[in-house]
């Protein structure tokens, strides 16, 4: 049985969650902005 397993799992899972969240937030923001940009460009072409 590994001693202090709770502390090791808590620390590593916190780091993992923050790192995954950061990627998700950044990627979502990029996709959202690309969508807006494509929409504006398309409207300008049509006009």
């Amino acid at each position: 049985m590994i001693d202090n397993l709770f502390y090791i799992i808590s620390a590593s899972s916190f780091a993992l969650v923050v790192m995954i969240l950061l990627i998700i937030i950044s990627f979502t923001s990029l996709k959202k902005r690309e969508k807006i940009f494509n929409k504006i460009s398309k409207n300008r072409k049509n006009n």
Binding site: I2, Y7, L22, R44
Partner: protein, 241 residues
């Protein structure tokens, strides 16, 4: 200064081209180094003679702290470049890297606190190293707030650059706090003039994980910089309409 080859890429179009070519390799390098380093650190490296298995927290805590310092230093350098040369990409870099640096600082503080409870018997002490890391976290928060405060990217960029440069004084304080003051935090054992005092069976997984964290930073940075460049394009299009 403008003749430096690096400034050839200080152009959003060239930068995006380089990012597109290298992105997938950076993702693969991140996966490889993180999985190998963390596997070695958590399952194959030896226990510490005093702390036992608790020492494994080091494999996430130390690389996060290194990244927090490295990112802040690079923001301070980019801020100088932005103030002197007015390079748009330097400003975009500062804006994009800030949240990543703040996240690494938060990871370092929280994992350090979790490590502190079983080893020191407390979650938190107002120790020089820990307090200066908290100051770094607030500097990152201030930097991000300035960027989000104003719609005018140039004005907010200049104010944020000034804060980043002034706040850089905190970086040597963090590094040498364990030598200058009597602290609960242990002194440096890897980045030392006399060489690392940590055994290679622990040092190698630690360095491999740190490399993984570095490539992870580059991956997220590219995503965030692409997002900011797209935002600039949207602003320009809206302005010309």
């Amino acid at each position: 200064m403008t003749n430096f080859k690096i400034f050839k890429y200080a152009n959003p179009a060239n930068f995006l081209y380089v990012c597109k070519k290298t992105f997938i390799y950076l993702v693969l390098l991140t996966i490889f180094f993180l999985s190998y380093g963390l596997y070695q650190g958590f399952f194959n490296s030896p226990e510490d003679y005093q702390q036992g298995n608790l020492v494994r927290i080091m494999y996430v805590h130390v690389p996060s702290a290194w990244m927090a310092l490295m990112i802040y230093s690079s923001i301070a350098i980019a801020s100088c470049i932005y103030l002197i040369n007015k390079h748009l990409l330097a400003n975009i870099f500062c804006k994009s890297a800030s949240l990543i640096g703040a996240s690494f600082t938060l990871i370092a503080i929280v994992t350090g606190s979790i490590w502190g409870k079983p080893t020191w018997g407390t979650w938190w002490v107002w120790d020089a190293r820990i307090t200066s890391m908290l100051v770094l976290f607030f500097l990152y928060l201030g930097h991000m707030t300035i960027f989000n405060f104003s719609e005018n990217t140039t004005k907010s960029g200049q104010a944020a650059a000034l804060l980043a440069i002034l706040g850089f004084v905190n970086i040597p304080i963090i590094k040498f706090s364990v030598d200058w003051w009597n602290t609960l935090h242990q002194p440096a054992s890897v980045i030392k003039l006399s060489g690392p005092t940590i055994h290679s069976s622990m040092l190698i997984p630690l360095l491999v994980t740190a490399l993984g964290f570095f490539f992870y930073f580059l991956v997220v940075l590219i995503i965030r910089m692409r997002s900011e460049i797209t935002n600039e394009k949207i602003n320009n299009l809206s302005f010309t309409e």
